[in-house]
């Protein structure tokens, strides 16, 4: 396929490009930073729409807790700007890429349990639909219920509805301090029970993860790698005196073995966020799956899978997020079926790392029940009736 990449510099040019694609019947693959093209279902399009030139901060007012930027703005720029004012995106997005890519993927890190995900912080959007129409949705203030919450729909839509040109996000004060309680040697279900206890406490836990022995051994943080077995992690963040007080109380309540201070804590939770002990989502290696399940069902779901699959796992979100690594020679469509049939308590599974051929042949995202799929198709049509934007990225034919 000849790949032409169009790199518009203005919204008007994005509109023009989409209108051309419509009239020519040529689908477009939307690119942000292009950092994660290897994830999700491959898009089959001869033309790319690179939005990285739509870059720059439009408005940032720390006291209003709001930042507006063009969608192609690198996350690194946004992070640095926010950090300068003691703020951050509270949902703990991964490094790299662009703001548009982040919202399109609808991501979040370990703070998901306390702070929500990208959808919870996306307040407003502007973009060009697959109809070649520039439009906007939401607003630029933190509290708004005017009309449908279109920005939320954009989060996790993987560029299949709209080429986003501008995004307004809610920003929050970054915690002054952080510490992590560490419990050693628990098996999966005891660990998740312990995380549940921590999350039931009034101490505002902002990270709750469990690394079984093999995952822990690969940590770059010496206290974790050197624990010689599984580690269970509970994170507390906030103002200094508050963190100190909560650490003391929760340490006592959970009988934690150790406490990691600020720097080790920061390094450790970056690893958890990025699935680093499995090599992260962007590298080669074992197939990587991300399961979202009711937290208490995490260990039992994994126990079922262990009976038939050669899996390595770790848990985040108090057990609600399970990362699975499978040897790269597993037949992906078989393992997909096995994994999904284990989700008896509800939830879904996404294949986040595998070679392109595998992703093209596997249902990367959880298949939807037919009525929901039909509705999703109608939603897609309402934005992009001709399937011009990222066709097939999420589901075949969508």
């Amino acid at each position: 396929m000849t790949i032409t990449i169009l790199k518009p510099e203005t919204t008007a040019q994005v509109t023009e490009a989409v209108r051309w694609a419509l009239s020519a019947g040529e689908p477009l693959e939307i690119l942000g930073g292009g950092s994660r093209r290897g994830l999700g279902r491959p898009v089959r399009a001869a033309h790319g729409l690179d939005l990285s030139a739509l870059s720059g901060i439009v408005a940032y007012e720390p006291e209003e807790l709001v930042l507006t930027a063009l969608a192609g703005t690198p996350m690194a720029t946004i992070r640095a700007l926010l950090a300068g004012r003691g703020q951050h995106l509270a949902f703990e997005p991964p490094e790299g890429g662009t703001l548009g890519g982040l919202v399109a993927c609808g991501l979040a890190g370990p703070r998901r349990i306390a702070a929500g995900s990208a959808r919870d912080h996306t307040l407003g959007i502007a973009g060009v639909s697959g109809r070649g129409e520039a439009y906007k949705g939401g607003g630029k203030v933190v509290k708004n219920v005017t009309g449908y919450d279109v920005p939320k729909l954009m989060a996790g839509s993987f560029g299949t509805l709209t080429a986003l040109t501008e995004i307004t996000v809610k920003v929050l004060p970054a915690p002054e301090d952080t510490a992590t309680l560490l419990l050693a040697g628990l098996d999966d279900s005891a660990a998740v029970a312990m995380l549940d206890r921590a999350l039931r406490s009034p101490y505002e836990v902002s990270g709750a993860a469990h690394l079984p022995a093999a995952a822990a051994a690969r940590s770059g943080v010496s206290a974790i790698a050197g624990a010689g077995g599984a580690v269970t992690l509970v994170r507390l963040e906030g103002f200094g005196p508050s963190v100190a007080a909560r650490v003391a109380m929760l340490r006592e309540e959970l009988r934690a073995d150790a406490v990691l201070g600020r720097d080790e804590s920061l390094a450790l939770w970056r690893e958890v966020r990025d699935g680093a002990c499995f090599g992260g989502v962007a590298a080669d290696g074992p197939h990587l799956w991300k399961l979202s399940v009711p937290p208490a069902a995490g260990p039992s779901t994994v126990a079922v899978l262990r009976r038939t699959l050669d899996v390595e796992v770790f848990y985040d979100w108090g057990g609600g997020l399970v990362w699975l690594a499978l040897p790269s020679d597993t037949a992906a469509s078989d393992s997909a079926a096995t994994i999904r049939s284990a989700l008896t308590a509800g939830g879904h599974a996404t294949l986040v790392r595998a070679p392109e051929a595998v992703r093209a042949a596997t249902e990367v995202f959880q298949p939807l029940p037919e009525p929901l799929m039909a509705l999703s198709r109608r939603v897609k049509e309402s934005f992009d009736p001709k399937g011009i934007l990222n066709p097939g990225r999420m589901y075949a034919g969508l």
Binding site: R19, L65, Y135, V142, T146
Partner: protein, 495 residues
């Protein structure tokens, strides 16, 4: 405000429609008696009233599905209703429509502490959820002032919020799962007990959709552990600018209070006269800042907030030293609406959000408008997130005053949009702000929202006349204008 002209053909078929409904919901579940229908003629926006053609009160999801399917087949409009506390006319009935009351859906289905969530039917009240888990020290965070009465189904439809929402989010940030019935009778489930629903975030669209996309029949919400302590500070300022500055400075210092509410002089006086909360009467702005969390954190932050307030010119500061005192601080704020009701025969409660920095300008312009139209205004608002609730005082018995109050209200909302804010922060668009939507959104924005509506309800039968100023047919919205042979982007860089 004009509602769509009732379809006389439908009204003529009333008997047939009633019979079809009776075949689905037997006995007293179908209401046709005019006196009984009165109970539904309006919601919290009492200026607009309309008897529904018929009301139906289903008791099962299957019945809801059958009712919708039947109405769709007969081309009959449907207005869902929870407790009817909407302040924007969202539950206002239609003369040619069926009112679908969800009052029988009152059961708490599942309390799951291990997954920290509760599943309920939509007719359970907001407070009912918190009460059901209170003995375990849990609560449901979004707390609209109407929480004792309003239903979780209505909360989903309106994406309701309350004093807590700056820190804990609105309804949309606290819902995990939904079951809903589409207009064609299809029952779908979104999300569940897990985070991140998967697929398109349809739950995000349904939440706040004001009953236009589907009828919610089951809801799973997150519950949170109650903070260990809460303390409040009462701060008085000589000018509202200083009050506003103080709010910005607190946030700039990295503090997100559990609640941060502001009142202006008329509201302070009305509230103090009514509940004797001990408010200072010689200040222009009163700020209540509540901090919640572990005692060590709360003590630390209370000191910081007090120091910031002094720097920003506070002329009054009092920190609550007991739970009683904290509640007394709030008693005045919580009674502000009825308190204002005592000093005026009628009042009209507006709801718009502004960027906080625009507060001095907005207050000044509101005062000018007030002087011009001769109606007083009292202000109570969620200071943390810039959500204003101006209360316009009027007397409905004086000819023209209601209209003047509405006009004043519209001007205030337009002003909110003009300074970069939005038409509604929590009460919804409904019929009240419908015709102002074009002030915030342009045609393309509204067309795209209406196309979304078409994906859920292609015949436009669910709650029509609300939210959107113009009713478009889906066929017309669906048309795609493709211009063949346009220049192939001569000036877009290519690689």
């Amino acid at each position: 405000m004009k509602m769509p002209v009732p379809d006389s053909g439908i009204i003529a078929r009333r008997r047939e429609i009633v019979e079809a409904l009776r075949a689905i919901v037997p006995g007293e579940g179908v209401i046709v008696d005019e006196n009984e229908l009165r109970a539904y003629e309006c919601d919290g926006l009492t200026a607009f009233r309309q008897l529904p053609m018929v009301a139906v009160l289903p008791g099962t999801v299957e019945q809801v599905s059958q009712v919708l399917k039947t109405c769709k087949a007969m081309g009959v409009k449907v207005v869902p209703r929870g407790a009817g506390t909407s302040l924007s006319g969202g539950a206002l009935p239609l003369a040619d429509g069926v009112l679908l009351g969800m009052g029988k859906f009152k059961r708490i289905l599942d309390i799951d502490y291990a997954n920290r969530c509760v599943t309920v039917q939509p007719g359970v009240t907001n407070l009912g959820i918190s009460n059901a888990v209170a003995h375990e020290g849990f609560y449901y965070a979004p707390d609209p002032s109407s929480q004792i009465a309003c239903t979780i189904g209505g909360n989903i439809a309106e994406n309701s919020g309350g004093v807590h929402c700056l820190k804990y989010g609105l309804t949309t940030n606290n819902v995990l799962g939904l079951e809903m019935v589409l207009m064609d009778g299809t029952v779908i489930r979104l999300g569940g007990k897990h985070l991140d629903a998967g697929g398109y975030d349809l739950m995000g669209i349904v939440t706040g959709s004001e009953g236009l996309l589907g009828v919610v029949t089951e809801v799973t919400v997150r519950i949170l552990k109650k903070p260990a302590t809460a303390r409040a500070v009462l701060l008085g300022f000589p000018t509202s600018e200083q009050g506003g500055d103080c709010v910005a400075a607190i946030i700039a210092a990295g503090i997100i209070p559990g609640g941060m509410e502001m009142m202006d002089r008329p509201a302070i006086h009305a509230a103090e006269d009514f509940v004797h909360a001990g408010y200072p009467l010689d200040v222009e702005a009163l700020l209540i800042v509540e901090l919640d969390g572990p005692a060590a954190e709360v003590d630390h932050l209370i000191d910081r907030v007090e120091a910031i307030a002094r720097e920003r010119g506070a002329c009054y500061a009092r920190v609550s030293t007991s739970e009683e005192e904290r509640l007394a601080f709030w008693a005045g704020r919580k009674a502000a609406f009825p308190a204002v009701g005592r000093i005026s025969p009628d009042y009209y409660c507006m709801d718009g959000t502004i960027p906080r920095k625009a507060l001095p300008l907005v207050l000044r312009r509101m005062q000018e408008m007030s002087d011009r139209c001769g109606l007083r205004v009292a202000n109570v608002f969620h200071a943390g997130d810039g959500n204003l609730h101006p209360l316009i005082l009027y007397d409905a018995n004086k000819p023209g005053e209601l209209e003047a109050a509405e006009e004043f209200g519209n001007d205030i909302l337009r002003l909110c949009v003009e300074v970069g804010g939005v038409l509604t922060g929590e009460h919804g668009v409904g019929v009240e702000k419908r015709d102002l939507m074009t002030d915030q959104f342009d045609e393309a924005d509204l067309r795209q929202q209406q196309r979304l509506k078409c994906a859920f309800d292609p015949d436009g039968l669910l709650n029509p006349g609300k939210v959107f100023p113009t009713l478009h047919r889906c066929a017309e919205l669906g048309r795609l204008h493709v211009h063949q042979g346009e220049l192939r982007f001569p000036d877009i860089p290519r690689f």
